[in-house]
Symmetry: C3
Subunit: 208 residues, 3 copies
């Protein structure tokens, strides 16, 4: 495999695991049984990437053509199910890894869309979909308005990572360094939102 | 471009803008931040058409292969975000444009499905999906039972527009006139439901 | 048609009808109008199979390329709408048929994925998706957490049926007998969950 392909694949594995953990943790919290937890872990982990692959015509999607992501998501789900209390105490690390997964998926998704010849604005959108798709479905399946739509610079962080890839690709910079920069920027923005309260504008009513 | 293709594309742009406005308006109402509003505007605008394209094998879908619909949805979302109070006062016009968007998408979706060799009953269904898909996802993402499933001759109006296209196509009538007739019928039925209270039957319990 | 293909198609028709009934019954219960009921019947009946077909690249999906499943779902929806009280009294039979539909879809979906050259773990997952997809969307559209995620050995029963197909296919056994065995096992597990209270483990807090 070429280095760029290898990098994307490696980042994909990390992101898959992290999102599977977030899905499984929510499933346990909602009192789902073991299999429900595993389903939610898998769906959260692969939905964004599968949607991207279907939309760019890369069918069957990576997560369907190979069983690796399934095995990874199931392993993550089993770990969360077994060591539930541990993951409860790891709230902060989980938020960090969730930010990392977001950046990783957004960057890898944008790169893959560009590789398939998609124009750059839509490649960035496909990167965002890769990053936020899993979390959106996780939230819809547990009947809450998706976090990503509510606030806290989530999708914007994914967009920032995606645009780094777009710009780096246009400038002909080495993909590995560009991908790393994209992930770092995404994680940075997300952490600033979490710990410094960075926000995007909201329409506020000023009726007396 | 041929006239028929040009017409479908033109109607598509109007429908995209109108549905983006409806998604953005709901996002603002739910207190979402700017980016959440834009995401909801884009998803509402393109989900129906993207689903249709994936199902008929037209991949990547128009809204992915080109960035025009993205730009249009973002512009609509920014307008709603900026001139929120104006759109609030425009409740009635928005309902009218929503009906127009519904008719436009249903008609254009049916025509495209027929062009791809889909049989007529499923072409009508794909027209309905094109018309109501975006609104369904908009409602699911904000955790309400989709309007279209609850009442008020919404999907039926889309079906009527779709059937006009099917019949016109079978009779070999000029596509432009047929499309116009389909949109007009759909808008008419929807407005009758809104202002005259036309309803479909509901199962009512008659237990004493 | 070969016997195996014919069998899959036949099972598909039964499953389609049964799931359409379950969607329509929920729609009536929620006070939807006739068309909403038909939409929910159709979506519940075909969503799992359509998702499977899109993911394995069998586009347009069977339920789009042919209008048979549409007609069947509409017929089921009309029957439920007309004879609503009868179906109310048939709660137990409906649960049985729902279990049968689950098994049928899981088995047929796994077989089709294998036929398309998908590796066996993902073929089993695609079988599960075929079986539980429609019910998940039905529940999401009526804003409840999908039954399948909450409990009661539902997806696990589908998995068991799928694995019978995988094992039988690997062993070269006759497809018809294997499919029948898969459906029977799935129905058996589901009925044990319903009437004997078989459960999967749940994480329970033991804080004093």
């Amino acid at each position: 495999m070429e280095p760029a392909v290898l990098l994307v694949r490696f980042l994909d594995l990390i992101g898959t695991f992290v999102f599977a953990v977030s899905g499984a943790a929510l499933g346990v919290q909602r009192g789902m049984d073991l299999f429900g937890v595993l389903v939610l872990a898998f769906v959260t982990a692969v939905f964004g990437g599968v949607t991207r692959d279907v939309l760019i015509g890369a069918v069957p999607p990576v997560s369907v053509a190979s069983w690796h992501n399934l095995a990874l998501a199931v392993a993550a789900g089993l770990l969360v199910f077994r060591f539930n209390k541990l993951f409860d105490q790891l709230q902060q690390p989980v938020q960090f890894f969730d930010a990392a997964g977001l950046g990783v998926f957004a960057v890898a998704g944008t790169q893959k869309a560009l590789d398939y010849g998609i124009n750059w604005p839509m490649a960035a959108v496909l990167g965002i979909i890769s990053g936020i798709g899993g979390g959106m479905v996780r939230d819809v399946l547990t009947t809450q308005v998706p976090t990503v739509l509510r606030a806290d610079i989530y999708a914007v962080a994914a967009l920032a990572g995606a645009l780094v890839v777009v710009a780096g690709s246009a400038a002909g910079l080495p993909p590995t360094a560009v991908a790393l920069a994209g992930v770092v920027l995404c994680v940075f923005l997300r952490l600033m939102a979490l710990y410094r309260g960075w926000r995007l504008p909201v329409v506020t009513s000023r009726d007396p």
